[in-house]
Protein backbone atom coordinates (compact mmCIF):
# COMPACT_ATOMS: atom_id res chain seq x y z
CA UNK A 1 0.00 0.00 0.00
CA UNK A 2 1.48 3.33 -1.00
CA UNK A 3 1.35 6.37 1.24
CA UNK A 4 -1.34 7.85 -0.95
CA UNK A 5 -3.50 4.76 -0.60
CA UNK A 6 -3.01 4.84 3.14
CA UNK A 7 -4.01 8.50 3.19
CA UNK A 8 -7.16 7.81 1.19
CA UNK A 9 -7.99 4.84 3.36
CA UNK A 10 -7.71 7.01 6.46
CA UNK A 11 -9.48 10.18 5.48
CA UNK A 12 -11.82 9.03 2.71
CA UNK A 13 -12.73 5.54 3.83
CA UNK A 14 -15.97 4.64 2.05
CA UNK A 15 -17.03 1.97 4.54
CA UNK A 16 -16.58 4.26 7.55
CA UNK A 17 -18.21 7.13 5.71
CA UNK A 18 -21.28 5.05 4.93
CA UNK A 19 -21.54 3.94 8.52
CA UNK A 20 -21.31 7.38 10.12
CA UNK A 21 -23.00 9.55 7.50
CA UNK A 22 -26.44 9.26 9.16
CA UNK A 23 -25.00 10.48 12.48
CA UNK A 24 -23.34 13.41 10.77
CA UNK A 25 -26.57 14.31 9.02
CA UNK A 26 -28.39 14.25 12.36
CA UNK A 27 -25.67 16.50 13.70
CA UNK A 28 -26.12 18.76 10.70
CA UNK A 29 -29.78 19.37 11.53
CA UNK A 30 -28.95 19.87 15.20
CA UNK A 31 -26.35 22.49 14.26
CA UNK A 32 -28.94 24.31 12.14
CA UNK A 33 -31.49 24.19 14.95
CA UNK A 34 -29.00 25.51 17.48
CA UNK A 35 -27.85 28.25 15.11
CA UNK A 36 -31.42 29.33 14.35
CA UNK A 37 -32.28 29.53 18.07
CA UNK A 38 -29.14 31.59 18.72
CA UNK A 39 -29.81 34.04 15.89
CA UNK A 40 -33.45 34.55 16.90
CA UNK A 41 -32.74 35.13 20.57
CA UNK A 42 -29.47 37.01 20.14
CA UNK A 43 -30.56 39.50 17.50
CA UNK A 44 -33.94 40.15 19.15
CA UNK A 45 -32.38 40.72 22.57
CA UNK A 46 -29.61 42.89 21.12
CA UNK A 47 -32.05 45.08 19.22
CA UNK A 48 -34.23 45.40 22.31
CA UNK A 49 -31.23 46.56 24.35
CA UNK A 50 -30.27 49.11 21.69
CA UNK A 51 -33.80 50.53 21.69
CA UNK A 52 -33.81 50.70 25.49
CA UNK A 53 -30.46 52.47 25.38
CA UNK A 54 -31.77 55.14 23.02
CA UNK A 55 -34.27 56.21 25.70
CA UNK A 56 -31.26 57.72 27.46
CA UNK A 57 -31.99 56.61 31.02
CA UNK A 58 -28.60 56.93 32.62
CA UNK A 59 -28.53 54.10 35.16
CA UNK A 60 -30.13 51.73 32.67
CA UNK A 61 -27.53 52.66 30.07
CA UNK A 62 -24.67 51.91 32.42
CA UNK A 63 -26.16 48.50 33.08
CA UNK A 64 -26.59 47.84 29.35
CA UNK A 65 -23.04 48.94 28.56
CA UNK A 66 -21.66 46.71 31.31
CA UNK A 67 -23.57 43.64 30.13
CA UNK A 68 -22.53 44.27 26.53
CA UNK A 69 -18.88 44.73 27.49
CA UNK A 70 -18.99 41.62 29.63
CA UNK A 71 -20.16 39.36 26.84
CA UNK A 72 -17.80 40.92 24.35
CA UNK A 73 -14.81 40.36 26.65
CA UNK A 74 -15.50 36.75 27.72
CA UNK A 75 -14.57 33.89 25.38
CA UNK A 76 -17.75 32.02 24.41
CA UNK A 77 -16.26 28.71 25.52
CA UNK A 78 -15.64 30.15 28.99
CA UNK A 79 -19.29 31.22 29.22
CA UNK A 80 -20.41 27.79 28.07
CA UNK A 81 -18.16 26.14 30.68
CA UNK A 82 -19.46 28.43 33.38
CA UNK A 83 -23.08 27.66 32.51
CA UNK A 84 -22.61 23.93 32.00
CA UNK A 85 -20.02 23.00 34.62
CA UNK A 86 -20.56 25.88 37.04
CA UNK A 87 -24.33 26.28 37.35
CA UNK A 88 -24.90 22.80 38.82
CA UNK A 89 -23.01 24.11 41.88
CA UNK A 90 -25.95 26.47 42.30
CA UNK A 91 -28.37 23.57 41.96
CA UNK A 92 -29.25 24.53 38.39
CA UNK A 93 -28.48 22.05 35.67
CA UNK A 94 -28.64 23.06 32.03
CA UNK A 95 -28.43 20.61 29.16
CA UNK A 96 -25.44 21.04 26.89
CA UNK A 97 -27.75 22.37 24.18
CA UNK A 98 -29.32 24.93 26.52
CA UNK A 99 -25.93 26.04 27.86
CA UNK A 100 -24.49 26.52 24.37
CA UNK A 101 -27.66 28.28 23.18
CA UNK A 102 -27.77 30.65 26.15
CA UNK A 103 -24.04 31.44 26.03
CA UNK A 104 -23.89 32.15 22.32
CA UNK A 105 -27.19 34.07 22.37
CA UNK A 106 -25.78 36.35 25.06
CA UNK A 107 -22.64 36.91 22.99
CA UNK A 108 -24.64 37.66 19.85
CA UNK A 109 -26.92 39.93 21.88
CA UNK A 110 -23.92 41.95 23.04
CA UNK A 111 -22.48 42.39 19.55
CA UNK A 112 -25.91 43.14 18.06
CA UNK A 113 -26.61 45.83 20.63
CA UNK A 114 -23.23 47.42 20.01
CA UNK A 115 -23.69 47.39 16.24
CA UNK A 116 -27.26 48.71 16.34
CA UNK A 117 -26.32 51.40 18.80
CA UNK A 118 -23.48 52.57 16.58
CA UNK A 119 -25.93 52.63 13.67
CA UNK A 120 -28.55 54.61 15.58
CA UNK A 121 -26.06 57.22 16.74
CA UNK A 122 -24.67 57.48 13.21
CA UNK A 123 -28.01 58.75 11.87
CA UNK A 124 -27.54 62.54 11.59
CA UNK A 125 -29.11 64.76 14.21
CA UNK A 126 -30.88 66.66 11.43
CA UNK A 127 -33.06 63.61 10.78
CA UNK A 128 -34.39 63.77 14.32
CA UNK A 129 -34.90 67.51 14.04
CA UNK A 130 -36.67 67.39 10.69
CA UNK A 131 -39.06 64.72 11.93
CA UNK A 132 -39.72 66.42 15.26
CA UNK A 133 -40.30 69.78 13.50
CA UNK A 134 -43.20 68.22 11.58
CA UNK A 135 -44.76 67.15 14.86
CA UNK A 136 -43.69 63.50 14.91
CA UNK A 137 -43.21 62.17 18.46
CA UNK A 138 -40.12 60.40 19.81
CA UNK A 139 -41.43 56.91 19.13
CA UNK A 140 -42.59 57.61 15.56
CA UNK A 141 -39.36 59.44 14.78
CA UNK A 142 -37.34 56.54 16.16
CA UNK A 143 -39.21 53.69 14.49
CA UNK A 144 -40.12 55.34 11.15
CA UNK A 145 -37.20 57.65 10.48
CA UNK A 146 -34.10 56.68 12.48
CA UNK A 147 -34.27 52.90 12.85
CA UNK A 148 -34.78 52.12 9.13
CA UNK A 149 -31.64 54.12 8.33
CA UNK A 150 -29.71 52.46 11.15
CA UNK A 151 -30.78 48.99 10.01
CA UNK A 152 -29.46 49.63 6.53
CA UNK A 153 -26.15 50.76 7.92
CA UNK A 154 -25.73 47.80 10.25
CA UNK A 155 -26.62 45.00 7.83
CA UNK A 156 -23.05 44.22 6.68
CA UNK A 157 -21.34 44.22 10.11
CA UNK A 158 -24.30 42.41 11.65
CA UNK A 159 -24.30 39.72 8.96
CA UNK A 160 -20.59 39.06 9.42
CA UNK A 161 -20.81 38.99 13.19
CA UNK A 162 -23.80 36.67 13.12
CA UNK A 163 -21.97 34.26 10.83
CA UNK A 164 -18.90 34.29 13.09
CA UNK A 165 -20.91 33.62 16.23
CA UNK A 166 -23.06 30.99 14.59
CA UNK A 167 -19.92 29.05 13.78
CA UNK A 168 -19.44 28.91 17.55
CA UNK A 169 -22.10 26.17 17.58
CA UNK A 170 -19.14 23.80 17.16
CA UNK A 171 -18.21 24.69 20.74
CA UNK A 172 -21.31 22.82 21.87
CA UNK A 173 -19.43 19.59 21.16
CA UNK A 174 -17.41 20.35 24.28
CA UNK A 175 -20.55 19.99 26.41
CA UNK A 176 -21.62 16.73 24.80
CA UNK A 177 -24.03 18.06 22.20
CA UNK A 178 -24.07 15.73 19.21
CA UNK A 179 -24.01 18.47 16.61
CA UNK A 180 -21.74 18.04 13.60
CA UNK A 181 -18.41 18.17 15.41
CA UNK A 182 -19.68 16.16 18.39
CA UNK A 183 -21.03 13.45 16.12
CA UNK A 184 -17.81 13.42 14.07
CA UNK A 185 -15.59 13.08 17.12
CA UNK A 186 -17.71 10.27 18.49
CA UNK A 187 -17.38 8.57 15.10
CA UNK A 188 -13.60 8.87 15.15
CA UNK A 189 -13.28 7.32 18.57
CA UNK A 190 -15.53 4.38 17.66
CA UNK A 191 -14.04 3.65 14.27
CA UNK A 192 -10.39 4.62 14.91
CA UNK A 193 -10.55 6.33 11.55
CA UNK A 194 -10.65 10.09 10.83
CA UNK A 195 -13.16 9.82 7.99
CA UNK A 196 -16.04 11.06 10.19
CA UNK A 197 -14.01 14.24 10.74
CA UNK A 198 -13.69 14.65 6.99
CA UNK A 199 -17.44 14.24 6.71
CA UNK A 200 -17.92 16.77 9.49
CA UNK A 201 -15.68 19.29 7.76
CA UNK A 202 -17.62 18.79 4.53
CA UNK A 203 -20.88 19.26 6.42
CA UNK A 204 -19.65 22.58 7.82
CA UNK A 205 -18.59 23.68 4.35
CA UNK A 206 -22.00 22.78 2.94
CA UNK A 207 -23.58 24.82 5.70
CA UNK A 208 -21.29 27.83 5.97
CA UNK A 209 -19.65 28.28 2.58
CA UNK A 210 -22.88 29.65 1.03
CA UNK A 211 -23.37 31.84 4.08
CA UNK A 212 -19.83 33.24 3.88
CA UNK A 213 -20.27 33.95 0.17
CA UNK A 214 -23.62 35.59 0.94
CA UNK A 215 -21.83 37.73 3.52
CA UNK A 216 -19.37 38.83 0.85
CA UNK A 217 -22.26 39.80 -1.43
CA UNK A 218 -24.07 41.69 1.33
CA UNK A 219 -20.90 43.65 1.99
CA UNK A 220 -20.72 44.94 -1.58
CA UNK A 221 -24.50 45.28 -1.99
CA UNK A 222 -24.79 47.54 1.05
CA UNK A 223 -21.42 49.19 0.60
CA UNK A 224 -21.28 52.59 2.25
CA UNK A 225 -21.11 55.52 -0.02
CA UNK A 226 -18.00 57.38 1.09
Amino acid sequence: MTNWDRFLDSFFNARVAAEYLPKIIEGFWLTILLAACIILAGVAAGLALAVLRSLGIRVLNWAIIFVVDLFRALPPLVIIALLYFGLPAAGLSLSGFAAAWLALSLVLMAFTEEIFWAGITAVPKGQWEAARSTGLGFLDTFTLVVLPQAVRMVIPPLTNRTIAITKGTALASVVAVQEILGAAQAGVSFSFNPTPLTLGAVAYLVLFLPVVILGRWVETRFAWKR
Partner: protein, 246 residues
Protein backbone atom coordinates in the same frame (compact mmCIF):
# COMPACT_ATOMS: atom_id res chain seq x y z
CA UNK B 1 -52.49 96.04 11.09
CA UNK B 2 -53.05 92.40 11.92
CA UNK B 3 -52.04 90.83 15.23
CA UNK B 4 -48.70 89.15 15.86
CA UNK B 5 -48.74 85.45 15.02
CA UNK B 6 -45.27 84.80 16.43
CA UNK B 7 -44.33 86.59 19.59
CA UNK B 8 -41.03 86.03 21.38
CA UNK B 9 -40.28 88.07 24.50
CA UNK B 10 -37.02 88.29 26.42
CA UNK B 11 -35.72 85.01 25.05
CA UNK B 12 -32.42 83.85 26.55
CA UNK B 13 -30.48 80.74 25.64
CA UNK B 14 -27.41 79.30 27.34
CA UNK B 15 -25.34 76.40 26.04
CA UNK B 16 -23.50 75.42 29.19
CA UNK B 17 -21.50 78.54 29.99
CA UNK B 18 -22.12 80.11 26.58
CA UNK B 19 -24.78 82.85 26.55
CA UNK B 20 -26.06 82.69 22.97
CA UNK B 21 -29.35 84.63 23.09
CA UNK B 22 -29.39 87.62 25.41
CA UNK B 23 -32.99 88.73 25.60
CA UNK B 24 -34.48 88.68 22.12
CA UNK B 25 -37.87 90.25 21.38
CA UNK B 26 -39.40 89.43 18.04
CA UNK B 27 -42.98 89.80 16.86
CA UNK B 28 -44.08 88.62 13.43
CA UNK B 29 -47.41 89.70 12.04
CA UNK B 30 -49.63 87.56 9.92
CA UNK B 31 -48.55 87.42 6.23
CA UNK B 32 -45.33 89.18 7.11
CA UNK B 33 -41.94 88.05 5.78
CA UNK B 34 -39.23 88.78 8.30
CA UNK B 35 -35.66 88.41 7.16
CA UNK B 36 -32.98 87.73 9.77
CA UNK B 37 -29.35 88.58 9.01
CA UNK B 38 -26.20 88.77 11.08
CA UNK B 39 -22.65 87.45 11.37
CA UNK B 40 -21.87 83.79 11.92
CA UNK B 41 -22.46 82.71 15.51
CA UNK B 42 -24.76 85.65 16.30
CA UNK B 43 -27.58 83.29 17.29
CA UNK B 44 -29.85 83.35 14.22
CA UNK B 45 -30.29 79.59 14.01
CA UNK B 46 -30.69 79.29 17.74
CA UNK B 47 -33.47 81.87 17.74
CA UNK B 48 -35.30 80.08 14.93
CA UNK B 49 -34.95 76.72 16.69
CA UNK B 50 -36.26 78.20 19.92
CA UNK B 51 -39.43 79.27 18.11
CA UNK B 52 -40.50 75.64 17.54
CA UNK B 53 -38.67 74.46 20.64
CA UNK B 54 -36.06 72.32 18.93
CA UNK B 55 -33.95 74.20 21.47
CA UNK B 56 -35.28 74.81 24.96
CA UNK B 57 -34.96 78.54 25.78
CA UNK B 58 -33.42 79.25 29.18
CA UNK B 59 -35.76 82.15 29.81
CA UNK B 60 -38.47 84.25 28.16
CA UNK B 61 -41.80 83.50 26.53
CA UNK B 62 -42.81 82.36 23.06
CA UNK B 63 -46.31 82.25 21.63
CA UNK B 64 -47.13 81.01 18.16
CA UNK B 65 -50.67 81.35 16.82
CA UNK B 66 -51.89 81.92 20.35
CA UNK B 67 -50.22 78.81 21.76
CA UNK B 68 -47.75 79.16 24.62
CA UNK B 69 -44.85 77.11 23.24
CA UNK B 70 -42.98 76.89 26.53
CA UNK B 71 -45.92 75.73 28.65
CA UNK B 72 -45.34 72.17 29.83
CA UNK B 73 -49.00 71.40 29.18
CA UNK B 74 -48.79 72.33 25.51
CA UNK B 75 -48.82 69.30 23.22
CA UNK B 76 -45.59 70.20 21.48
CA UNK B 77 -46.10 67.78 18.59
CA UNK B 78 -49.48 69.31 17.82
CA UNK B 79 -48.07 72.81 18.07
CA UNK B 80 -45.18 72.00 15.74
CA UNK B 81 -47.54 71.15 12.90
CA UNK B 82 -48.41 74.83 12.75
CA UNK B 83 -44.74 75.78 12.37
CA UNK B 84 -43.01 74.50 9.27
CA UNK B 85 -39.23 74.38 9.25
CA UNK B 86 -36.76 74.15 6.39
CA UNK B 87 -33.12 73.33 7.14
CA UNK B 88 -29.89 74.25 5.44
CA UNK B 89 -29.04 70.56 4.92
CA UNK B 90 -32.56 69.55 3.73
CA UNK B 91 -32.73 66.60 6.14
CA UNK B 92 -34.92 64.56 3.84
CA UNK B 93 -35.43 60.96 4.94
CA UNK B 94 -33.12 59.05 2.58
CA UNK B 95 -35.06 55.79 2.84
CA UNK B 96 -38.35 57.29 1.66
CA UNK B 97 -39.45 58.67 -1.71
CA UNK B 98 -40.25 62.36 -2.09
CA UNK B 99 -43.91 61.46 -1.67
CA UNK B 100 -43.14 59.33 1.40
CA UNK B 101 -41.21 62.20 2.96
CA UNK B 102 -44.15 64.56 2.56
CA UNK B 103 -46.83 62.05 3.52
CA UNK B 104 -45.20 60.74 6.71
CA UNK B 105 -46.39 63.43 9.11
CA UNK B 106 -49.76 63.67 7.37
CA UNK B 107 -50.35 60.04 8.20
CA UNK B 108 -48.70 59.75 11.58
CA UNK B 109 -49.40 63.17 13.08
CA UNK B 110 -52.63 64.20 11.40
CA UNK B 111 -53.79 60.60 11.20
CA UNK B 112 -54.98 60.79 7.59
CA UNK B 113 -55.62 57.53 5.76
CA UNK B 114 -52.92 56.59 3.30
CA UNK B 115 -54.75 57.59 0.11
CA UNK B 116 -55.74 60.98 1.44
CA UNK B 117 -52.27 61.66 2.87
CA UNK B 118 -50.72 60.84 -0.49
CA UNK B 119 -53.19 63.03 -2.36
CA UNK B 120 -52.36 65.95 -0.07
CA UNK B 121 -48.65 65.18 -0.39
CA UNK B 122 -48.97 65.25 -4.18
CA UNK B 123 -50.66 68.65 -4.01
CA UNK B 124 -47.83 69.96 -1.86
CA UNK B 125 -45.26 68.64 -4.35
CA UNK B 126 -47.20 70.33 -7.15
CA UNK B 127 -46.88 73.63 -5.34
CA UNK B 128 -43.10 73.34 -5.56
CA UNK B 129 -43.35 72.03 -9.15
CA UNK B 130 -42.07 68.56 -8.32
CA UNK B 131 -45.16 66.41 -8.89
CA UNK B 132 -43.22 64.46 -11.50
CA UNK B 133 -40.53 63.55 -8.96
CA UNK B 134 -42.89 62.06 -6.36
CA UNK B 135 -41.47 58.55 -6.73
CA UNK B 136 -37.81 59.60 -6.56
CA UNK B 137 -35.60 59.02 -3.56
CA UNK B 138 -33.63 61.98 -2.17
CA UNK B 139 -30.42 60.46 -3.52
CA UNK B 140 -31.86 60.72 -7.03
CA UNK B 141 -32.71 64.42 -6.73
CA UNK B 142 -30.54 67.51 -7.10
CA UNK B 143 -29.90 69.65 -4.05
CA UNK B 144 -32.38 72.25 -5.22
CA UNK B 145 -35.05 69.63 -5.81
CA UNK B 146 -34.38 68.11 -2.40
CA UNK B 147 -34.83 71.47 -0.73
CA UNK B 148 -38.12 72.01 -2.57
CA UNK B 149 -39.31 68.60 -1.37
CA UNK B 150 -38.37 69.71 2.14
CA UNK B 151 -40.49 72.83 1.64
CA UNK B 152 -43.37 70.65 0.41
CA UNK B 153 -42.97 68.42 3.48
CA UNK B 154 -43.47 71.46 5.69
CA UNK B 155 -46.31 73.18 3.79
CA UNK B 156 -48.29 69.96 3.41
CA UNK B 157 -49.18 70.27 7.09
CA UNK B 158 -50.67 73.72 6.34
CA UNK B 159 -48.61 75.56 8.91
CA UNK B 160 -49.43 79.10 10.06
CA UNK B 161 -45.80 80.13 9.84
CA UNK B 162 -42.70 78.86 8.07
CA UNK B 163 -39.14 79.04 9.40
CA UNK B 164 -36.24 78.90 6.93
CA UNK B 165 -32.69 78.44 8.21
CA UNK B 166 -30.31 79.29 5.36
CA UNK B 167 -32.32 77.24 2.84
CA UNK B 168 -30.00 78.00 -0.09
CA UNK B 169 -26.57 77.97 1.58
CA UNK B 170 -25.82 74.34 0.74
CA UNK B 171 -26.80 74.73 -2.91
CA UNK B 172 -24.76 75.25 -6.06
CA UNK B 173 -25.43 78.78 -7.40
CA UNK B 174 -27.46 77.58 -10.39
CA UNK B 175 -29.88 75.72 -8.10
CA UNK B 176 -30.62 78.64 -5.79
CA UNK B 177 -33.14 80.23 -8.13
CA UNK B 178 -35.65 77.38 -8.03
CA UNK B 179 -35.76 77.38 -4.25
CA UNK B 180 -36.14 81.16 -4.05
CA UNK B 181 -38.92 80.94 -6.64
CA UNK B 182 -40.76 78.42 -4.46
CA UNK B 183 -40.34 80.73 -1.47
CA UNK B 184 -41.59 83.70 -3.46
CA UNK B 185 -44.72 81.81 -4.50
CA UNK B 186 -45.26 80.77 -0.92
CA UNK B 187 -45.08 84.38 0.13
CA UNK B 188 -47.55 85.41 -2.58
CA UNK B 189 -49.98 82.82 -1.23
CA UNK B 190 -49.91 84.76 2.01
CA UNK B 191 -47.66 82.59 4.18
CA UNK B 192 -46.06 84.13 7.25
CA UNK B 193 -42.31 83.52 7.02
CA UNK B 194 -39.17 83.98 9.07
CA UNK B 195 -36.09 83.58 6.89
CA UNK B 196 -32.45 83.39 7.92
CA UNK B 197 -30.41 83.80 4.75
CA UNK B 198 -27.58 85.58 3.01
CA UNK B 199 -29.63 86.15 -0.17
CA UNK B 200 -29.72 89.93 0.08
CA UNK B 201 -31.32 90.31 -3.33
CA UNK B 202 -34.23 88.20 -2.20
CA UNK B 203 -34.44 90.21 1.01
CA UNK B 204 -34.64 93.48 -0.90
CA UNK B 205 -37.31 92.16 -3.21
CA UNK B 206 -39.49 90.16 -0.86
CA UNK B 207 -38.93 91.05 2.79
CA UNK B 208 -41.31 93.28 4.73
CA UNK B 209 -38.80 93.73 7.48
CA UNK B 210 -35.13 92.95 8.04
CA UNK B 211 -33.77 92.11 11.48
CA UNK B 212 -30.04 92.40 12.13
CA UNK B 213 -28.67 90.26 14.95
CA UNK B 214 -25.24 90.40 16.54
CA UNK B 215 -23.89 88.84 19.72
CA UNK B 216 -27.21 87.28 20.69
CA UNK B 217 -29.20 90.50 20.45
CA UNK B 218 -31.35 92.22 17.85
CA UNK B 219 -29.28 95.28 17.07
CA UNK B 220 -31.49 96.95 14.50
CA UNK B 221 -34.59 96.28 12.46
CA UNK B 222 -36.63 98.00 9.79
CA UNK B 223 -37.81 97.83 6.17
CA UNK B 224 -35.17 96.49 3.76
CA UNK B 225 -34.56 99.87 2.13
CA UNK B 226 -33.74 101.38 5.52
CA UNK B 227 -31.49 98.58 6.78
CA UNK B 228 -29.59 98.15 3.53
CA UNK B 229 -29.66 101.79 2.40
CA UNK B 230 -29.32 103.71 5.60
CA UNK B 231 -28.35 101.59 8.61
CA UNK B 232 -28.34 103.50 11.91
CA UNK B 233 -25.99 101.34 13.95
CA UNK B 234 -22.25 101.09 13.39
CA UNK B 235 -22.27 97.29 13.59
CA UNK B 236 -25.05 97.02 11.03
CA UNK B 237 -23.19 99.33 8.71
CA UNK B 238 -20.02 97.26 9.02
CA UNK B 239 -21.89 94.02 8.35
CA UNK B 240 -23.83 95.38 5.36
CA UNK B 241 -20.64 96.90 3.96
CA UNK B 242 -18.89 93.55 4.25
CA UNK B 243 -21.62 91.73 2.38
CA UNK B 244 -21.99 94.32 -0.35
CA UNK B 245 -18.29 94.06 -1.10
CA UNK B 246 -18.78 90.42 -2.04
Amino acid sequence: MSAAIVEARGVHKHFGGLHVLKGVDLAVRERELVFVIGPSGSGKSTLLRCLNRLEEPSDGSITVDGIDMLDRRTDINKARQRIGMVFQSFNLYPHMTALGNVALALRRVQGLPRAEAEARARQALERVHLADRAGHYPGQLSGGQQQRVAIARAIALEPRVMLFDEPTSALDPELVGGVLQAMRELRESGMTMVVVSHEMGFARAAADRVVFMDGGRIVEEGPPEAIFGNPQQERTRAFIGQIERH
